[in-house]
């Protein structure tokens, strides 16, 4: 028998190639997510995967052998909200990029976090619009030259895990693609968590980010991610000046709050129990 990768069984047979560039961080994340599902002993048929537009959105669609909904730019969380409320017994996971979820789709992101709807959102944050050719994003570091910030980015960048936390997400973690085991662990925790769980995965984009910024190859960029990662525990003892240019990684939030579909079910029970019929 031809040997296959142990996670190959989770991949759509017709998806024989990825749309991602050589050296992209999406492959690492794809494996980390599937490993988490595998380690949790879950079935792909338990899931509906929803994605938007952008490189990261191509992780579940077409790769995952499951129900997948590939949606419009910025709106996967809104589509996923309909899926989850109409079919609460299914797990809903959104995998998309920073441009998709936080620029054009920022409104849906904060409201889903506020509602504490039971879904897992994994955001690949590569700090740039990769698929469209390397334009500036709300997550692009200040000063960076991109195709649409040729004189250097003059805007502040988003702390998207901070945004998720402020908006009410009940599980929030951030890792870079070099911390693969930690990503897997966080995805597992997110899958066990009831409510809105958010994992920011800082990734490198050697083609659109690396080439333009002269940061070198994929492996050089991975080394760079490793070098600038600081754990949340360590960061708490550091000054803002010391944290300049660093990425704080770790688990930021893990709390319980009323979950939307549970509240909806309770409301339904009450409404259906009322007996004063009128129209």
């Amino acid at each position: 028998m031809k040997p296959t990768h142990p996670l190959h069984k989770y991949m759509r047979p017709s998806a024989i190639r990825t749309a991602n560039c050589p050296g992209c961080g999406n492959g690492i994340l794809t494996q980390a997510i599937l490993r988490a599902i595998d380690e949790e002993g879950l079935d792909m048929d338990d899931f509906v995967f929803v994605s938007g537009i952008g490189c990261a959105a191509w992780i579940p669609s077409p790769l995952f052998l499951a129900d997948t909904l590939h949606t419009t730019h910025g709106r996967p969380i809104a589509f996923a909200t309909g899926v989850k409320l109409a079919k609460p017994d299914r797990r809903v996971m959104v995998i998309s990029g920073d441009g998709d979820l936080l620029a054009i789709g920022g409104n849906h992101f904060i409201h889903a976090a506020r509602r504490n709807i039971d879904m897992t959102v994994v955001c690949v944050n590569n700090g740039i619009y990769g698929m469209t050719g390397g334009q500036v994003a709300p997550t692009t570091p200040i000063g960076l030259r991109t195709m649409t910030s040729p004189y250097g980015n003059i805007e502040n960048d988003f702390d998207i895990s901070g945004l998720a936390t402020a908006a009410g997400a009940t599980y929030v973690a951030r890792w870079t693609v070099i911390q693969t085991r930690q990503i897997t662990k966080s995805v597992r925790k997110a899958l066990e968590h009831r409510g809105f769980s958010f994992i920011e995965v800082v990734s490198h984009c050697p083609v659109q980010f690396g080439r333009k910024t002269g940061m070198g190859s994929s492996t050089q960029m991975l080394d760079w991610l490793k070098e600038i990662s600081v754990t949340a525990t360590k960061a708490s003892g550091m000054t803002p000046a010391e944290l300049e240019g660093k990425i704080v990684v770790g688990e930021f939030v893990d709390i319980d709050k009323p979950v939307l579909d549970v509240e909806l079910e309770r409301m339904r029970r009450d409404a259906q129990g009322g007996d004063d019929a009128e129209n």
């Binding site: 909200t81 079919k87 129209n279």
Partner: protein, 385 residues
């Protein structure tokens, strides 16, 4: 709150409420919406009624905007739920990308547009038939869609049922193109027994559906829908795709097939979809009017007769697909057509493109108001052969 799905009986009911009741009678279990005048009563009614439906899992959710409302509706529909949203012009403008999404992914859903006066924010509480062409052609790309135009609270009920049935049957979004007159008007609405209401349900892919080989998309005969949650492992994308749902964004022939199958599905079945209400018999002049304007045209028939003019009404009930053959046939029977709309002429151009007789047009003296009967009769006198 009443926990029954169908409120059988005679009611004095507002059009928007009748629309909500029609949706429930048709089997709707999911609504997502965002407040907007003059459509909010539909959301309010559904927010109250859906969770209360006895033994059911009805969902109403107020989303953060209209974009997400239609997105949630489409997501819910893919789990098998009959789903809807309701809004007015500004909301429709925001939804248009997802109208195309629902067309492209063949997602049954109902979109109610209680039209208001525009362009832009315009006047929320004044009606205008300004969104006719938008309903048919507002989203980008080439596609065909279905829209029905109710002209009374009773039809707000009946046409919403019809819209759900057409959506389910043809796996497509369907517009209920109402307006603030008919939405806020109160009249008698008769709701039959549940057994007396014809309901259509989508055909779902059979067990054993193979996502690699079986057709889940792009059939002019409407492919069974491989809904989520049944182990079908469906690949659903709005990008150009094949009959199995597999993306193909490199090949123009795939795009050609994608467009032709989606449009062909509506065109092949247009005789089943298109409904016209033709009262012209052997009249000399046909008054072509839809929605609330139809009421004014109907009122003008008697006054015209008193003035010695033979004129009667021809009403497109489905405004999309446009009843081109029916109007062409009409134009060969009558001596003239008078198109009445509460705009400066939208359906007019579609009528002119197929009519063989002279085609005239009359808008109300003040846009956003109903046509004055005397004004209609004066126009009929003008154009009478």
């Amino acid at each position: 709150m009443n926990t029954d799905r169908v409120l059988t009986g005679r009611h004095f009911m507002q059009g928007n409420i009748a629309c909500a009741e029609g949706a429930l009678a048709a089997g709707c279990t999911f609504m997502a919406g965002y407040p907007i005048t003059p459509a909010s009563e539909i959301s309010e009614r559904m927010a109250s009624r859906l969770p209360a439906l006895r033994g059911e899992n009805g969902v109403f959710i107020q989303m953060e905007d209209e974009i997400s409302s239609l997105a949630a509706v489409i997501g819910a529909s893919w789990t098998g739920a009959k789903s809807m949203t309701a809004t007015s012009g500004p909301g429709i403008s925001l939804m248009l990308e997802h109208v195309g999404y629902a067309v492209g992914t063949e997602t049954p859903c109902v979109i109610v547009n209680v039209q208001r006066g525009g362009p832009t924010t315009g006047i929320p509480s004044v009606e205008l038939q300004g969104d006719l062409i938008q309903a048919g052609h507002g989203s980008h790309g080439e596609y065909r869609i279905i829209a029905v135009a109710p002209s009374s609270p009773q039809e707000m009920f009946d046409h919403t049922v019809l819209a759900f049935n057409l959506a389910e049957k043809y796996r497509t979004p369907v517009f209920v193109l109402a307006d603030s007159f008919v939405g806020h008007m109160r009249e008698e609405v008769v709701i039959p027994d549940a057994s007396g209401i014809e309901i259509a349900d989508r055909v779902i892919s059979p067990g054993g559906y193979n996502q690699e080989t079986d057709q889940g998309f792009l059939s002019v005969d409407v492919a069974p829908m491989p809904i989520f949650g049944r182990g079908f492992r469906s690949h659903v994308t709005s990008s150009c795709h094949t009959e199995t749902g597999k993306r193909n964004v490199t090949d123009a022939t795939a795009l050609d097939n994608f467009i032709r199958k989606l449009c062909g599905k509506i065109e092949k079945n247009r005789d089943d979809i298109v409904i016209v209400d033709d009262a012209t018999n052997d009249a000399d002049i046909a008054m072509v009017a839809y929605g609330t304007v139809f009421r004014a045209a109907r009122e003008a028939v008697g006054a015209a007769r008193d003035a010695g003019i033979s004129a009667d009404t021809f009403r497109p009930v489905t405004v999309w697909p446009f009843p081109d053959r029916e109007i062409h046939e009409l134009s060969r029977r009558v001596k003239a057509i008078l198109v009445l709309e509460n705009n400066l002429g939208q359906m007019l151009h579609f009528v002119r493109s197929v009519a063989e007789c002279p085609v005239h047009f009359l808008e109300p003296e003040v846009l956003g108001t109903l046509h004055d009967i005397d004004r209609i009769v004066a126009k009929l006198k003008d154009i009478a052969p």
